[in-house]
């Protein structure tokens, strides 16, 4: 399984990520997800979220998740970008792409990866009011 992980302070460039997509002849499904910053947090309006990562450990934990994902589903490739720093409302904080032979495993693997990321990858958020 090909894997690509990026933790960056730069804005997520979805156009170039899509342009860089690599799909083999055996792939029949590409699932991708973009997480964006919502304008409310616990009912209160916010302007941005500041994301903090323990980057070295985050890379390690993402690596373990990719290992586990590969054991569970026949995934061809995964690409994941998580932005850190201050991210304004409506801007992307997370981008994930899973390529597989069939949609069932692509959807399942993508959903699982995001759920597990929220459980074990050391990234935190702090809402910033206007």
């Amino acid at each position: 399984m090909k894997r690509q992980l990026t933790i960056t302070k730069k804005a997520i460039d979805e156009a170039s990520l899509l342009a860089g997509r690599a799909v083999s002849g055996g792939a029949g499904a590409v699932v991708y997800f973009t997480g964006v910053v919502r304008g409310t947090e616990k009912g209160a309006a916010i302007e941005a979220i500041e994301y903090e990562a323990f980057e070295k450990m985050a890379e390690r934990q993402f690596g373990l998740l990719f290992d586990e994902m590969e054991k569970r589903w026949p995934v061809e490739s995964v690409r994941l970008v998580h932005r850190v720093g201050v991210i304004k409302v409506s801007e992307a904080s997370l981008w994930v792409e899973v390529v597989a032979a069939h949609r069932a495993e692509a959807f399942a693997a993508c959903q699982w990866l995001i759920d597990e990321m929220k459980r074990v990858v050391p990234i935190w958020k702090k809402p910033l009011a206007g």
């Binding site: 323990f54 990321m117 990858v121 990234i123 958020k125 702090k126």
Partner: protein
């Protein structure tokens, strides 16, 4: 022996610092370390049940026996995405 402890997220606010050194006796565990830190930083004590602990880049249970020079991290539940 001494271990270095790094705090992340709002644990930095609770302790008032990003990093601290703490002494633990030979054979001391992560739980022993937490109790010492809770006594030193009382606001941490209330977070005991939700505190996650790692040594280097891996999560470890409270029973983990510390070694001299271990780099320990303490942080609240993660919230990526």
């Amino acid at each position: 022996m001494k271990v270095t402890v790094t705090f992340y997220s709002y644990f930095k606010d609770l302790t008032g610092c990003g990093q601290a050194e703490e002494s633990v006796p030979e054979g001391g565990t992560l739980d022993d370390l937490f109790q010492r830190l809770a006594a030193r930083f009382p606001k941490l004590a209330a977070m005991e049940k939700s505190t996650l602990m790692a040594v280097d880049v891996d999560y470890q249970p409270r029973s983990y026996v510390l070694k001299d020079g271990d780099e320990v991290s303490l942080f609240p539940p993660v919230q990526g995405g």
